[in-house]
Symmetry: C2
Subunit: 806 residues, 2 copies
């Protein structure tokens, strides 16, 4: 048991191994990976798993979701905010540190169940003094403004004074280890004691001057009594350091607790009176808020806050946990991806989205992509519907920005940005800098328009899963209308062929940039138009006045609706002439036919040799699911034979150059009966960060991949799908490695638990709400709802809803 590696100070707080991710030895080359793996987030902020005493190789980051800044960079990115982690312990000026001492014993572990990062080191300094340092770190989800570290420091072979620095480091920057890209996103406003003790650093983002206040207080206890003494505060430029010391006795643990808090001007508006640009002469409102929070935290105590935090995670896991029996490593790896995904989502704030690296790394600047709607949203909609609604509201909040974006680009309606930060403007840079310093023009935002379809599809899917028609009517419909408008204006009529086309566009497969009539995009655009027309018909008929209201408010004339209908009907959808194959884009079939012929030991496609000489763009080799993504999203529009044929065709041409690809192939493969690759794809996706398969985990956790893992398990192996009329279809494809699978789902106000056995038999228990219509392995049934949530639901006659093997 991993928890046995820790002493009684910590051990009892820890979970069993299926919840624990262990780092069992110190290797500085692994620091950046573990900083991502051990990132703690609470929906409001995320802090990478850096060491309290700092290591040479480190990208210590604390992000608050929504706090972006541009300054000298090409785009607004999450600003690295003052690092609150710093605790340095010294014996006679010698740092008791992971890199300054000999490491005699080492364990760090992430307890996913309790969302705690724990450590235990025995360190020996150059004079042979040995110190045991154990610690628990928490970024509370019970109160997102409370972050804490609790250490147990035990001199093993000496007694003496241990000096302590409580540090808030405002000198952190973004891309600190990339000389060409280093950027400072904040400016120091204040560096002072928190009260008569403690430390407080206030910074403002450089461009929009949003203030962020970070404070901390450190205490030490021996036998329950405070022992910290000789406190003195030092302002070192952007870094606040409170010095203090305590007497430590050989063999006796001293408990050191750091209470920290951070607030921004978003929570404390007008924090400096009229303006936030000047150095505060007195304490700002922000300072007072941080001070009061820390006072409250210290009064409650670390233990109390930790209990509340664990309680919140217990509730979250009760929703989110997936249990895969008989496949321990994969079970844990899947849990790991869910841990990070659910930790980053916010059920409280609809001004923020979920970035492509969550809050765990600096790549992609914390921007939201189509990843949100197509990869992560199904998870949130089925597991944390409140968070999903926030993600939808986020798009609605930024609808005006999307309108402006469309207008700027010469279109009508609303065009969502390929990369979205806080204000909805396009954050995908027009230029990128190569490692050699040359800039090149980046056309992604110019051509990759399918994100606007993804936003529309996300609304559809969110509503289909949650049944939140209120959102649809009040906000979603407006977005859908504006995106339909965009597509109608984006399409060009080809008189010769009597068809509508979308020219110069890039589909999900980014290796063929700027093509004409990308099938995926055309289909989604057509779908958007069709869905809106159907919706409006529905609203017109329901007599609530919504139809008239929308028409009036959005200035929709009947001719416009007719034109949408026309575009929809005449949309060009390229297709092979005889073979029933869908053509990824117009002319794709004319490209050099290159297929994948070899797979490595992990069943991962080996890049065909020919690509060394022939550019990818000239071949049929593609980066990621494109047509297959279409089959996944709009499955109802294709027959099974078409799905099978196209899956097989494209699977041989996909190199999975994006982490978004394998999960979709898994789901679709299982759907069409190819069980050969899905399990390996899932393993790859589940371990992508844990084993750093793409060598970029240092940049942060792959968020869309995490959503893809969930989809592969639930939509793929469990074979769950939702029909528009509210039936939950379950048709599992259990891999031979598994002894059982269970998870919970929210669906249209109900909550059910689904358990699948190796023979693909299914048990569904309705835990809340109901009745629920299910179709298990083809057999339809209705499960009654219950009164109390914890009572098992039964279908007609039987104990629970269950279906035999298909």
């Amino acid at each position: 048991m991993i928890r046995e590696r820790f002493s009684e100070h910590i051990r009892n707080y820890l979970s069993d191994d299926s919840w624990m991710i262990l780092e069992d030895h110190y290797d500085p080359e692994e620091n950046l990976k573990y900083e991502s793996l051990f990132c703690l987030s609470n929906g409001y902020l995320g802090t990478r798993g850096a060491y309290e005493e700092r290591a040479a190789k480190s990208i210590p980051c604390t992000y608050i979701n929504g706090v972006f800044d541009k300054s000298e960079t090409f785009m607004r990115e999450l600003a690295n905010l003052p690092d609150w982690l710093g605790i340095k312990l010294y014996v006679e000026k010698e740092l008791i540190g992971i890199e300054t001492c000999r490491v005699l014993e080492f364990s760090r572990a992430l307890d996913m169940k309790h969302a705690l990062l724990v450590k235990r080191f025995v360190l020996e300094d150059k004079k042979g003094r040995r110190t045991e340092v154990e610690g628990i770190r928490m970024v509370s989800r019970a109160n997102v403004h409370r972050m804490g570290i609790r250490l147990f420091v035990t001199p093993l072979n000496y007694s003496g004074i241990i000096e302590v620095e409580n540090i808030i480091d405002g000198s952190v920057i973004n891309f600190c280890d990339a000389p060409r890209f280093k950027v400072k996103h904040t400016r120091l406003l204040t560096n002072c004691p928190l009260t008569d003790k403690g430390a407080y650093v206030e910074v403002a983002t450089r461009d929009r001057k949003l203030c962020v206040g970070t404070g901390s207080l450190i205490e030490a206890y021996a036998g329950g009594r405070p022992v910290m003494k000789n406190r003195s505060f030092g302002a070192f430029g952007e870094t606040a350091v409170e010095f203090q010391d305590f007497d430590a006795e050989e063999g006796k643990a001293v408990e050191v607790v750091k209470y920290a808090s951070v607030y921004t001007e978003r929570e404390v508006p007008d924090c400096h009176g009229d303006s936030c640009t000047e150095r505060a002469s007195d304490r700002s409102e922000l300072h007072c808020r941080v001070r009061d929070e820390i006072k409250g935290f210290a009064a409650d105590g670390f233990e109390t806050e930790m209990s509340r935090h664990i309680e919140v995670y217990a509730r979250m896991w009760d929703e989110a946990n997936i249990e895969i029996r008989g496949d321990f490593d994969l079970d844990r790896a899947v849990r790991f991806t869910l841990f990070h995904l659910m930790s980053a989502g916010s059920e409280h704030d609809d001004r923020v989205n979920v970035g492509a690296k969550l809050l765990s790394g600096e790549e992609y600047g914390g921007h939201a992509f189509w990843d949100t709607e197509l990869f992560m949203l199904p998870f949130f909609a089925c597991v944390f519907p409140d968070t999903a609604r926030n993600l939808e509201n986020y798009r609605y909040r930024l609808l005006d920005a999307a309108r402006a974006n469309a207008a700027k680009n010469g279109y009508r309606g609303a065009q969502y940005p390929w990369e979205s930060a806080d204000d909805g403007t396009e954050q995908c840079p027009d230029w990128t800098i190569e490692p050699d310093g040359t800039c090149y023009r980046c056309y992604v935002a110019v051509y990759e328009h399918h994100v606007t379809a993804a936003v529309a599809y996300g609304i559809y899917n969110y509503v289909k899963i949650t049944g939140d028609r209120c959102f649809l009517r009040e906000k979603g419909a407006e977005i859908l209308i504006e995106t339909a408008r965009f597509w109608a204006s984006r399409c060009e009529y080809n008189r010769e062929m009597d068809r509508y086309e979308i020219r110069r566009v890039t589909g999900p497969d980014e290796w063929h940039e700027s093509v004409d009539n990308n099938l995926y995009t055309n289909y989604l655009a057509r779908w958007n138009l069709g869905y809106v027309l159907e919706l409006l018909r529905e609203f017109k008929e329901d007599g609530t006045g919504l139809y008239e209201d929308l028409k009036a408010r959005l200035n929709i004339r009947d001719e416009e609706l007719e034109s949408w209908s026309h575009v929809k009907e005449k949309m060009y959808l390229p297709k092979g002439k005889e073979n029933g194959l869908l053509e990824q884009f117009e002319g794709y079939f004319d490209l050099k036919e290159v297929t994948i012929e070899a797979y490595d030991e992990n069943d991962w496609p080996i890049r065909p040799e020919i690509l060394r000489t022939v550019p990818k763009t000239q071949t049929q080799i593609i980066k990621q699911a494109d047509v297959v993504m279409l089959l996944h999203l709009l499955g109802e529009e294709f027959d099974e034979e078409t799905k099978r044929k196209n899956y097989t065709y494209y699977e041989k041409r996909t190199l999975h150059g994006s982490s978004l690809s394998p999960s979709i192939y898994s789901v679709m493969g299982l759907h069409v009966g190819d069980e050969t690759k899905a399990y390996r794809y899932l393993r790859r996706a589940a371990f992508i960060d844990l084993t750093d398969l793409q060598k970029n985990t240092r940049e942060g956790i792959h968020a869309a991949n995490a959503g893809g893992v969930w989809q592969t398990v639930v939509f793929g192996f469990a074979g769950v799908s939702f029909s528009e009329d509210g039936v939950v279809d379950i048709r599992p494809h259990m891999p031979k490695e598994w002894e059982g699978l269970s998870f919970k789902l929210h669906h249209r106000g109900s909550k059910m638990e689904i358990t699948v056995l190796p023979d693909n038999s299914v048990t569904v228990t309705v835990l809340e709400g109901g009745p629920v219509s299910v179709r298990i392995n083809g057999e339809a049934m209705v499960l009654k709802g219950s009164g109390p949530a914890d009572e098992a639901m039964v279908p007609e006659g039987s104990g629970q809803a269950a279906g035999g093997p298909s």
Copy 2:
């Protein structure tokens, strides 16, 4: 030859081994020591020998002499100013650094002749890329505002882009590696590009707001043509970083030159108009001055400035070099101490003194002690009389502060502070902090009054050596009168014994703190009174009106002069009753008689066991020369037998707990005929820093020790002394290890070269001025002066002045 370790880029600039201090391998534990050893100073500023790319163990410091700040510390100390050294080279984001790469070849060396720090590394990064980095660093003495680094960067097994950061780091603090004592002495004012390129950081000291501007520009040249490209500036809080890159080709060296400059508000008064407290909105005058200096430097080129710099050092060494033939290591070690001492002295600025650690480390805060007058001044007076005059003027400038200090303490006249910084107030803290954080009262400044006698004696000695009676009449006399006044008021009349006493005082031996009638202090006080009375008599007789002027200006009444005479005559000078021994202080002979009985392999006294149980204060064991220092300074007052007896007595009781002690014992030992220890004492003193004998070289070079080394060689082994009537007495005591000794001396406007052979025969050549009266081994002669400086001087009849063996 050490220079063979360097390539042709550098080799030809380097001197032979007798001028070279080599670091032949990289050991991070030695970094701090080498930072002190390899410090480069030019009288204006000093920069420790830190690596351009920074190492983990480092105390990077740049001090400008005179730029002090107090802030939270107990005393005004030299503020660590923005570090101008920073150059980081990267290949694909991988730092080409001493600690991030494998070190395949390593040499660093200080060329003392040319005052250059050079290095040559071959570094291999994790990807196997090997880079040769050679470098020359210079802190120009031709123009003290120019500092430069010239690197030759050669990729050995790859070609690629090398990224470069030109860094000015304003985040440096004092005591960065001592958590309890860390202090920030500056506040950032400006962080911006120097012009359209380069970097500029302006800071102000925190308490008196003195502005300091540091700028730099970096260029790269291949085949003589500039190759730096892609420049971009980043302000990261207190650190300015200019990024740029160049293309490097395998096997071809690219030359990288960093031109840096620093000015302070002292050179550019009113640099921000009326006030320097606000952030400059436009470029400050200081910024413009730094910019222009760097422009000029870059236009002249590194090579040109280096030539001028070497030229200055050639002239300085022509004055200062001591050549000891046949004892290579010691010869070089002596040169090393002189290098640092002469590099720190300023011939241009009389507002600054020479700190106890020169400009090479942070201990003692850059303060001047009695060390200046008694240990260093003889060197400067004999070798660099202009610098010596500045040291004297420094005391005169601070005479009013010394008057205020006396008044504050209830005395009359002028009392010089035990520790002196920029304003002459006492900078010896009243309190010190123990490692355990407790404060204890420090009585050094309260009791250790002999510094005021040292200042008086310094004037006497300076005038005796240089013959600068102009200083004596215009400034020195005033100081001497005020210090005499202090002593007269400090003495108490003991009616019972009919004597004057100085009670509650600490002599040079600080292990007996607060004693009554410290012999050294009483003698020096008496001497001060006597010397002033004699001087005034002289002035009175010379009819220039100076006597009357001084009397009027300093309000001296005849009764006061009488009282001084009275104090002088009745001063109590404790002495043993029968044995002819001088008593260090009243009651010293009654202390427990403990003597040193054992010496270690270096002839260094071993601490008597008894001191484990009996406090030093209760024994006769002393820290350093006290009575023996008196014998050295006021030798004329004691007969040879007394000197011999007391030397022998106290030598057995002195543990040399201060680096100031051995040299005085050496000089006095040789004087009284004890040649057994002097040579070992000299070795110890000469190697004290080179081999880190006291384990504190990291804190800086021992300045007084360096002066002591010079005195041991010149006053001890060469047996030089100066009589008041201007005769240079030379009575050598050559150790058997030496094959010859030669050096140059200035004396009363003349300059002579003195060469001693193993048989103690002496050759004196008058190089400038003259005639010079010498007494060689007891034989008096007068050497005629010359016209041209380079013509050899001859005494009557013989080719040169020469004396046979004594």
